[in-house]
Symmetry: none
Subunit: 220 residues, 2 copies
DNA sequence: AAATTGGTTAAGAAATCGTTAAAATTTCGT
DNA sequence: ACGAAATTTTAACGATTTCTTAACCAATTT
């Protein structure tokens, strides 16, 4: 999931942008001043910055010069053409004038994220000492690597994401075969059994616990 | 020196843009139709395309979908907001409406070139002892040169860029033939097989690993 | 104790992969 | 514009992997 930092002191505009992007399943970080945004940038991994130029604290232009690694889209009220050009030349990747069309903002956000998407970035799902690496489908349990099939991996991922909470059999079945047919319940049993067997080859500890009549969960 | 392709059928506008960019020491290529531009693209190394949408011959929108590697700035008369958004989502990197300020066009041109500048490290793509050279399509594996066809090279490049992460079959198919048709899955198999065969001629080591049901990746 | 659910195993069915060869398409030189 | 060469796609086959089915026993509930 991509993280976008919104730097904008006007609360109305800030809120508008936030809502727009949240609909698209981006993770949003908020800053209301230049200085605040610099603090956030030190702590969090940010994929894109939406930046208003008129800021309290550190000036927007200064920020653009400082930030080299992350693409920046400047959103600002109409200013002199000359300033707009300067902003672009100094490091901004795009410039959108207020008021803007929501769809256009969204499209330009996606353009910037698309440009950067080829960079390697692992999507890690971790629970206790099990690690799933979504980008290369690898599974580590402690230091031992193991191999899961497509469905086994899918089941495991669901269990991991719930971090110890029960995952209903129906949900798992739905994932496996689209529908919740009766016959597949048998199949699920076997998959779970196979996963456990593979885990047992690597460690003695139990990881998958069954909840009678409901489903399965990761041990706590 | 950077090469920019101007695709614009209006001679006045074309000339205006050409003069503007020549002052900045870019190498300019000219096309006056969609089909013409595709011919040029196959022969010449182009760093950026300035594209008018209303074109004789091949449609501008179609071109955008086809061209994945080169950044495109669309320059066009005011059109519906919806079309503008579509153009961006389909692959264009920027959109400038006519009439435009010369300075802004220039600035946006420089932005796109700058973005690709940062990627230049990737111009020579290296993973383990395989080296792809994008500029002349050559492939070295250790000290042995080998020849890949266009599609084979494209597949290889995707795998290399991901540096050992899985590349989904769908992604590879999308790249090969635009769409994700079923029939092409067969074709992909053959391409992979052919690449492996060519590699085997040069070294015994395995390089391409298949991930069952998901896709392929470079061995780690 | 009977009925239901869970766990394991093994075998058959289904899907995916790898290779080959031929047909269809594109590219290229003349 | 034509035919030759190269490339891509299609089709077929066997090999491999994965998934499902079915049978059987253990555990849990009623």
């Amino acid at each position: 999931m991509k993280t976008i930092l919104i730097v904008e002191d006007d609360m109305d505009v800030h809120h508008l942008i936030r809502e727009l992007l949240e609909k698209e399943k981006f993770k949003i970080l908020d800053a209301y001043s230049g200085t605040e945004s610099m603090i956030i940038l030190e702590k969090e991994k940010v994929d894109l910055i939406l930046l208003d130029l008129m800021l309290p604290g550190l000036n927007g232009e200064e920020m653009i010069k400082k930030i080299k690694e992350i693409p920046i889209i400047v959103i600002s009220a109409k200013i002199a053409e000359k300033d707009k050009v300067n902003v672009l030349l100094n490091g901004a990747n795009d410039y959108i004038t207020k008021p803007f069309h929501k769809e256009e903002l969204l499209a330009r956000v996606k353009v910037q994220l698309r440009i950067n998407e080829n960079k390697r970035e692992d999507k890690i799902i971790q629970y206790k000492d099990i690690i799933l690496n979504d980008t290369n489908h690898s599974v580590y349990i402690g230091k031992n690597q193991m191999t899961l099939t497509k469905t086994e991996y899918a089941i495991m991922k669901q269990l991991m994401l719930k971090k110890g909470q029960v995952v209903a059999k129906t949900k798992l079945l739905e994932m496996i075969s689209g529908d919740t047919e009766d016959g597949d319940e048998n199949s699920l049993k076997v998959h779970i059994s196979n996963i456990r067997k593979k885990i047992r080859k690597v460690t003695e500890q139990e990881y998958i616990e069954s909840v009678w009549g409901i489903g399965f969960k990761m041990c706590e």
